[in-house]
């Protein structure tokens, strides 16, 4: 089965082709995508692009983890929202 390498917060991860960034995040030791204004961890909730909970930075651009498929050498950063 073909796999591609991505990085999540600087950590290299091999994932199956065709999985979403949300799925890749769930394979790490840290399930959250971002911290809320009050510092609460947030994770994918609706998984269909509506709830906006799974905002992460992908190659420097803010994206929804559930709506983005992993691509080779993708750099994903859990969003601290500045």
């Amino acid at each position: 089965m073909s796999k591609i390498a991505i990085t999540i917060d600087g950590e290299r991860l091999w994932v199956k082709v065709g999985i979403s960034v949300a799925a890749a995040l769930s394979m790490t030791s840290q399930p959250h995508c971002r911290l809320s204004v009050s510092g609460q961890p947030r994770a994918p909730f609706c998984s269909m692009g509506i709830c906006q909970e799974c905002r992460v930075s992908i190659n420097g651009v803010r994206r929804l983890a559930c709506q983005t498929l992993c691509q080779a050498d993708m750099h994903i950063t859990r969003s601290d929202n500045g």
Binding site: V37, R62, S79, N81, G82
Partner: protein, 371 residues
Amino acid sequence: MKRADVIVVGAGIIGSACAWQLARRGLRVALVDDGLPGATAAGMGHLVCMADNPAELALCAYSLRLWRELVAQMPEHCAWRSCGTLWLAEHEDELALAEQKQQRLAAAEAESRLVSAGELRRCEPLLRHGLAGGLHVPGDGIVYAPNVARWLIEQGGEAIVRYRGSAVALEPQAVRLADGTRLTADAVLLACGLAANALLAEPLLRAKKGQLAITDRYPPQVRHQLVELGYGASAHASNGTSVAFNLQARPTGQLLLGSSRQFDAPDDVLDMSLLATMLQRATQFVPSLAQMNIIRCWTGQRAASADGLPLLGPHPVHDGLWLALGHEGLGVTTALGSAALIADRLLRQRPAIDDTPYRPVRLLTVEEVSA
């Protein structure tokens, strides 16, 4: 509770401010609200000194003085920020509007100063090159109005008793709720925006629909509330659909984007083509918005009176019935001033500013009502 002195219908920013002000002055208030979101839940929470007509300016300037006395006491969740407003001139010919506004504000003792094109860029680097200049109004700010409304009610303590329910009928010195409860008091104050049309059984207020969009959280890059100088013309148009650029940096790092006006669109559905026009207008001032993500959009209805000024004071026909209605898009700004004027009149005290322009009698003549 003992019998209330005043029943306030509506716990948005106007009703809450009125209930708080009346409670402070020793009255017992029954505050009725149906829990449904109204204009307070939908708006931007901009405390802005509008100056497009003298009566509007007088009420804004007075109310903003009262806000400035209060903001230091407000808890963090009220999200007060003293950001000021930057009014933007897109073209040279709009600089005259900035100068006129500056003079009008000065006459009301509201501070403002003209800003050059270069200074605009220096203080707000996201603005595009080539804007003509602007006007900085440092006394303006922002709040999160739904939390301010709740906080004001809490400040009333035991003097304010809340009733969750829908007011369905007015009787002399009484209000009947949908569940059959009948509340009585010496005075009844309607502060329920558009819902007053049904209670008064007359189309006193017209709905002006607006829509807003808010971005994801980004590192703070905008310091002032940014508004185009043409906003006033859009805000006061009595017909047609219009948009005007209005951008607010929320304390969360989100950017709140307005604004639009639509008449006779009573639903809460987003108008996508109008939203696109709003966003295009916004990117004409802040091009980098095009690279940001919008995470929510919503609509709301402003309650507009026939002459654009609020109705504050006694109903000219019905004894004991008072109105605090028709604040349109300025309810947050003018809430404290409106509440003070209402309390002054109710308690037969001399108001701090002339309240003649806001008295309901100007729009509700005795002849019309009885006809």
